[in-house]
Amino acid sequence: MKQSKTTELLVGMFVAAGLAALFVLAMQVSNLSTLSQGNSYQLKARFDNIGGLKVRSPVTAGGVRVGRVAGIEYDDQRYQAVVTLLVEDKYDHFPDDTSASIFTAGLLGEQYISLDPGGSEEYLQDGSEIEITQSALVLEKLVSKFLFSKTSEGK
């Protein structure tokens, strides 16, 4: 069975085009380019309420993404949520009195953890825990607080 070179060429181009398209999907469309290339270290933080925080949510410092949320668990001894953060190795100068807060990006946006560095000379190590945390704002709690303060004013 003799096969012309054209057939082989066309099939080769087809396979190349398909693989190139997969490459575009991986590099241009998905988050591969923003995934951390290097290693990262773990931090833990306890929150009373994490709101809508999810695994893979971003961790930022000064608005710059420095890591992501690796795991969320509930500690039923202390009735708190334990969030594991993965922070990239190149950002290893967070003082140990750094505070972690859960904020919302935009009105309906997703929630993220913001790290605010403190002034301590000691730095956070792999596995250390962030002591100062601020929980997510839950809209219903906010509204009920507002209503209570209004009714108590009215008295």
């Binding site: 057939t7 085009a17 998905s30 923003t34």
Partner: protein, 260 residues
């Protein structure tokens, strides 16, 4: 009444017989696959007719689907002042759902029906029996390379569909409607996950490629060897493939994205 019940039973038995024949046929085809790898020329020839000749159709369809998504998504999102999310909407719809599904449906119509007709005609003109007379197993020689070609082509075609579609959405959204170019790509890259979204789309298209090609070659091989039989088999290929793809898509989506 008795005749009616008899017919009902006949239909049921026919169905299970066909399912059994199809499964045995699939097993025989899979056994024949190593032989294809020893004769890559057979595979290359089939990749040409199954993959390359479907490429233009898939690419153009992808372009238009992406452009429509760009327009529709923009019109909805602009009410919420969220047109920057257009990239996410277009990319997720195409990568997760439309890419694999529309490609599989087009593939069934373009390549699947051609496979059925070709194999069916080979059977009607007794080429397959001729091969058996020469001690060449037609399942290994004819069916297996076509099956492998379809199975390999589908994810490549779906990837082309996806990439072209996302650029189609880009042309309409950024080029015509004035969505900011940076946020189109940046939001897309922030929200589309390589494993959750892109890889699951590839897995879907692999499954669809497997099922559509299986249906196509089996209907061809199982055809009643007359011109009417071939015509019916071709129709059945397209109909059954479409059903199988849509039903499997639901199952796969529930498995992949249903957990959270």
């Amino acid at each position: 009444m008795i005749a009616w019940i008899r017919r009902l039973g006949r239909t049921g038995i026919d169905f299970f017989e066909k399912l059994g024949r199809g499964s045995l046929f699939l097993a025989a085809t899979l056994v024949g696959l190593p032989e294809v790898l020893r004769r890559p020329r057979l595979l290359v020839a089939q990749m040409l007719s199954v993959g390359v000749l479907s490429l233009l159709l898939i690419a153009i369809s992808g372009l238009f689907v992406g452009m429509v998504l760009g327009l529709q998504g923009y019109n909805t999102l602009v009410d919420f002042d969220a047109e920057e999310s257009l990239g996410v909407v277009v990319a997720l719809s195409i990568v997760r759902e439309l890419g694999p599904v529309v490609t599989a449906l087009l593939f069934a119509g373009r390549a699947g029906s051609a496979l059925t007709a070709e194999i069916g005609l080979m059977k009607a003109t007794e080429q397959l029996s001729g091969m058996e007379m020469m001690a060449v197993d037609p399942v290994h020689r004819v069916i297996a390379p076509r099956f492998l070609a379809g199975f390999l082509s589908m994810p490549l075609l779906a990837a082309v569909f996806g990439a072209v579609g996302i650029y189609g959405g880009y042309f309409v959204g950024v080029g015509l409607l004035g969505v900011d170019e940076g946020s189109y790509w940046a939001q897309m890259q922030a929200k589309v996950d390589l494993y959750e979204d892109v890889m699951n789309g590839v897995i879907k298209s692999l499954v669809f490629g497997f099922v559509v090609t299986w249906i196509a070659v089996f209907e061809g091989y199982d055809t009643v060897p007359t011109s009417e039989g071939v015509s019916r088999a071709t129709t059945r290929t397209v109909v059954h493939s479409a059903f199988a793809v849509l039903a499997l898509d639901f199952v796969l989506t529930a498995l992949m994205f249903g957990k959270d």
